[in-house]
Symmetry: C2
Subunit: 251 residues, 2 copies
């Protein structure tokens, strides 16, 4: 049912309508449509451009468990916190799986030919990458918990993107194939997390206005992802120049 057929004053969305509205945001704004990803999936990026992507995206990856710890700190009951805590374990690891998503991302960066310590040092990250990732922290720190949770719902879309990406990376950049553990793990983690989060948003958004604010939070999150690829495209694809102090591609 198209959104515009719903009276936004009075009617709250059903679970199905809410999911449809979230998916509509993804269709319009999720970064699967970004030209940098289109070039990546067409095999049109150079090794240096993939290095710039891996190095900058590392900053974002490194921010995710901090973002989730902020949400954890705002959690209103133990069941919520227990469920959300899983996300931090997924990224930081535990005794069973000491790796975790951040270490896996470093393996991907290493597969592009970068020294993982150089990447982990974060000194050559684009300022625009830092500003966008830090805005995600601002969002979950300052908005209502409902909106902080809703901003995670890009995970409704990530499985399809990751499935396509793993296929295309193996096809076009076989030398990267050893570094795809991060994506492998996200294939199962992301849908689990998204199922919990959309259920939480549906159950805790009491009014249509709160539902619309949750949908807006997802739009804002999409902007945070999109802006990171704009910055990469501008600095490393063309015409573009990295700002003073940022990573430079070696010819």
């Amino acid at each position: 049912m198209p959104l515009h057929a719903v009276n936004t004053e009075t009617e709250t969305l059903s679970m199905e309508q809410l999911r449809d509205a979230m998916r509509q945001v993804g269709e319009e704004r999720y970064h699967h449509r970004h030209p940098f990803h289109l070039l990546m999936h067409d095999g049109k990026l150079t090794r240096g451009q993939l290095q710039a992507w891996a190095l900058n995206r590392y900053y974002y990856q490194n921010t995710i468990p901090i973002k989730d710890a902020i949400i954890l700190s705002r959690g209103d009951d133990a069941d919520f916190r227990r469920a959300w805590r899983k996300r931090i374990v997924d990224h930081d690891g535990d005794s069973n799986s000491p790796d975790g998503g951040i270490k896996r991302w470093l393996k991907l960066a290493e597969a592009t030919g970068l020294d993982p310590e150089r990447v982990a040092g974060k000194r050559e990250v684009l300022p625009a990458t830092r500003f966008a990732a830090n805005e995600y922290l601002n969002l979950v720190r300052t908005r209502p918990l409902l909106e902080a949770v809703a901003s995670s719902l890009t995970e409704l879309f990530s499985r399809d993107l990751i499935t396509l990406r793993m296929d295309r990376l193996r096809l076009h950049y076989p030398w990267l194939s050893g570094g795809l553990d991060y994506f492998e793990a996200r294939l199962t983690q992301a849908p689990e997390d998204a199922a919990f989060a959309i259920r939480y948003v549906y159950e805790h958004a009491k009014t249509r206005d709160e539902q619309e604010k949750a949908i807006q939070a997802l739009r804002d999150k999409c902007d945070i992802l999109w802006a990171q690829l704009d910055a990469l495209y501008f600095a490393y694809v063309q015409p573009g120049w990295p700002p003073p102090g940022a990573f430079r591609i070696e010819d």
Copy 2:
């Protein structure tokens, strides 16, 4: 005296050396070097591109008194707060001069042909502009007060840039000449503010390490200004595409 001739372990910089170090940062990183400004000053920007600049820069202008209010809230004595309060008056106005910098910037935006209410609504601002301006709030909120004050020292460089800009805007875009009150006022405000801030940094940075952190805060501020022009160039000059929901130039 060039910085590298100073023993960064032991020697604190003199007032002159500190100012030289700050000016060196400006030479390397201040946005007077940014290609978007070079195009502007060569008369190579279209009216639509100047509209995009005025509309996005408004978001930043609107953030400045908020930034200064955060610094005011962290001020450690009444003399400091009294001096710093002037900045908020400069931007927000008072009974003597109800205009203030924000209203003056709206006059500039209006001179580009935009409805000032549309600009003040901030709905079409580039996400990257918001993220960069919000990062300025993060900086002054979370870093030591010394570094928050030091981050304002781009005003050491702004007078030269504004003098050049007013000259070039009148020359290349005479239809903008009625909207330059903002820059006119900044010609005297910025140097006053910079003189106070560099004196404060010199007097309150007790060690070379604190001086270096103050210099780094100025670098970080330059990154915040630079990233805003990168985003404008990418979205509105070329090749570029504004992200979903952002201002679009009408042909």
